[in-house]
């Protein structure tokens, strides 16, 4: 089965969960006065569930149109997934999660410099004499722009220092 049908199947499963929540759990909390309303908070989700199931099954069971088009230039070809730098992509995603978790405890400046340096390292950059100053300059100037010019609070240093 092609990937797009697996996705359609996952979408149908999602609709079932969403529909279960809409049909069976939401109305119980509704205060009696709102029950007289022609439209309930669950009305729209119920309609979406039904439409979603119909469209999901159409995608799941419809025949694939034989477009015969050549794959787009630069597009990702799933059959040769092994040739791509999947490891790097996953490492970067993990790095983003680590950044999200360290942003508060480490402070903006520390975690951002770390993110930019490690991100470039993952991609194969080894010129540290450029890499580290660029990362520090970028982190510093963005912090200044956001905090001082725009006035949005960003904790610059680890929590124990301020």
């Amino acid at each position: 089965m092609a990937l797009d049908r697996w996705i359609a199947l996952a979408f149908i499963a999602l609709c079932c969960v969403y529909g279960y929540a809409a049909f069976f759990t939401m109305d119980a909390q509704l205060p009696p006065i709102l029950r007289r309303n022609p439209v309930w908070p669950s009305t729209f989700p119920k309609i979406l569930t039904v439409l979603g199931l119909i469209v999901g099954f159409i995608v799941l069971f419809s025949r694939k149109p034989n477009t015969g088009a050549a794959p787009k230039e630069g597009a990702i070809d799933l059959t040769r997934l092994g040739d791509y730098h999947i490891g790097q992509a996953i490492a970067l995603l993990v790095l983003m999660v680590v950044y999200a978790l360290t942003l508060r405890p480490l402070g903006f400046l520390g975690s951002t410099v770390g993110f930019l340096v490690l991100g470039s390292l993952i991609l194969g950059e080894r010129r540290f004499h450029i890499l580290i100053p660029v990362a520090m300059l970028a982190a510093g100037s963005i912090w200044y722009l956001v905090q001082e010019v725009l006035g949005i609070f960003l904790r610059p240093l680890p929590a124990m220092f301020m």
Binding site: A2, L3, D4, I7, F11, L14, Y18, A21, M26, Q29, L30, P31, L34, P38, V39, P41, T43, F44, P45, L48, G52, V55, G56, I58, V59, R63, K64, P65, N66, T67, K72, G74, I76, Y84, H85, I86, Q88, A89, L92, L93, M96, V97, Y99, A100, L103, R104, T112, F115, L116, G119, S120, L123, E125, V134, A138, V146, L150, G151, I152, F153
Partner: protein
């Protein structure tokens, strides 16, 4: 009207107000370029500055300069990085980014600048002519018609997704609508689909979703397939100029979309986003043969259409604000707040009581568009230098800006985890060739769609509004036709082809 124009000129062309126009456009362009900071957040940030000025005319001139500056700046990051910072420029990325990858980033930016300028200027002329008349047309639309109009918009976007893609696009639209229903609904303040998580109480953030759908998969694709990053001319921006033939081919597009965009912008709730998507879809449908195939692969018309439409719509969205006092979009709602703080009440009396404010704003729109053009055309080669940065530096920075964009909106690091999660899902969807724009549009329109639906249901005590309001019925029938026709056409084509099953 002539008297009004003269009053406006006298007010707008003072050194201080001219400075405000330039300052607004520069600030708007620079911040709008950062993915994640849209016009709404920039204007909200600038409000304390504007109120500090004290004079309502200068303040409004500054804020509207920031508004179109931000829309223009957003198109730059859409074209160069495929990371639209503003919902209204998502459609620009469809063709702008492929052009940039072909090494024609300079041309794409030039077309964007010219189309924006034309859209904004034509919009300002139309605003001057139609502002009083249009307020009556907008009043004819009730919530039932808004609901139907949005359904038409959503199904049109799905219908124009391309052959064999309509069902997939509809699926993505519905997924977007479902994501939009997470959080506290407008109907009653009961949280929906939050599964007890505090973080989901206010729903998903639009910016996070936009980053996850567009910027993140693109960056990941760049990592996985380095060949994708290669630009035709090694990133050198040499071709800024557009040829005479190209100018002739985009001129009618700009003209049509400026007018269409303006009228869509006038309708409350529609605004620059719908105008740009609809403008793109309409031009794609009008184009013939090879030109139509080029859409999505780097068509210059595909850049010109959304750019002129979104700028014209920005101007158009001032019509309900200035003539009715009703903001048509989030951005004009913030402007309304600023005006009230400055002791100016927009509404039908504004033109009579404070003609200076009304006309000065319109005149400043011309000036603002001129400033944007003068500012941006010479700067394009420098802006486009972004493409010459080596990818080992560029990709961490793109990822960092997507993270920052969604973090700044909510100041919450859980948002970053949601971003990564949606980014992975979006990348898988991209693998399977699912269009992601319908998802985002469904998400943006979901709340408005449900609110108007609920209001119509409450007014008519049920589904009667569909039958009792002929315009609603006609629009809904149109929506169904739009969804069903491509499928029927496919079926007929398949029958004609002789029915050899090609299963997979």
């Amino acid at each position: 009207m002539l008297e009004g124009i003269l009053i406006g000129l006298a007010t707008a062309v003072t050194p201080f107000n001219l400075m405000m126009v330039v300052a607004g456009c520069v600030i708007g362009t620079l911040i709008g370029m950062l993915p994640g900071l849209g016009p709404m957040s920039i204007i909200a940030i600038m409000i304390p500055v504007a109120i500090g000025i004290g004079d309502p005319t200068s303040a409004l001139i500054l804020l509207s300069g920031v508004y179109y500056g931000a829309i223009f700046g957003g198109s730059t990051s859409s074209i160069l990085l495929n990371a639209p910072g503003v919902a209204g420029t998502v459609a620009t990325a469809f063709d702008g980014y492929p052009l940039a990858r072909k090494g024609q980033a300079g041309k794409a930016l030039t077309i964007a600048a010219i189309a924006s300028f034309a859209g904004g200027t034509i919009g300002a002329i139309l605003l001057m002519i139609f502002a009083p008349a249009l307020s009556t047309v907008a009043l004819l639309f009730h919530s039932a018609e808004y609901f139907a109009l949005m359904v038409v918009g959503l199904s049109a976007i799905a219908a124009f997704a391309g052959t064999g893609q309509v069902a997939k696009a509809l699926m993505m639209t519905l997924l977007g609508l479902m994501l939009g229903s997470v959080g506290e609904g407008a109907l009653s303040n009961t949280p929906r689909f939050t599964f007890g998580l505090m973080e989901l109480q206010s729903g998903f953030s639009f910016i996070t979703l936009a980053m996850a759908m567009f910027a993140l998969p693109e960056a990941l694709f760049l990592v996985m397939n380095p060949a994708r990053a290669a630009t035709g001319e090694g990133g050198k921006i040499s071709k800024l100029r557009i040829s005479g033939a190209e100018a002739r081919s985009i001129a009618p597009v700009i003209g049509r979309q400026s007018i269409q965009g303006f009228f869509i912008g006038v309708l409350p709730g529609a605004g620059a986003t719908i105008a740009s998507f609809l403008g793109y879809a309409v031009e794609r449908n009008i184009a013939k043969g090879a030109e139509q195939d080029e859409f999505g692969k780097g068509s210059i018309k595909g850049v010109a259409a959304p750019e002129s439409a979104n700028n014209a719509a920005c101007t158009g969205s001032f019509v309900p604000l200035l003539t009715l006092g009703i903001p048509g979009s989030g951005t004009t709602a913030i402007l309304l707040g600023a005006l009230l703080a400055l002791n100016v009440t927009p509404g039908p009396r504004l033109m009579v009581d404070e003609p200076g404010v009304f006309w000065a704003v319109i005149i400043s729109m011309y000036l603002g568009n001129l400033v944007l053009l003068i500012l941006n055309l010479p700067l394009i080669p420098y802006i486009a230098k972004i493409l010459t940065i080596p990818r080992t530096f560029l990709i961490p920075f793109i990822l960092f800006f997507t993270l920052m964009g969604s973090y700044l909106g909510q100041n919450n690091s859980t948002e970053l985890l949601i971003l990564v999660g949606f980014g992975v899902v979006a990348t898988i969807l991209r693998f399977a060739d699912y269009p992601l724009a319908p998802l985002l549009i469904g998400f943006i329109l979901g709340v408005m769609l449900e609110n108007n639906f609920a209001r119509a249901m409450q007014l008519y005590r049920g589904f009667d509004f569909i039958l009792e309001r002929p315009m609603t019925l006609a629009l809904l029938v149109l929506a169904i036709l739009l969804m069903v026709l491509p499928g029927l056409r496919n079926l007929r084509a398949r029958k004609r082809a002789g029915g050899v099953a090609d299963g997979d």
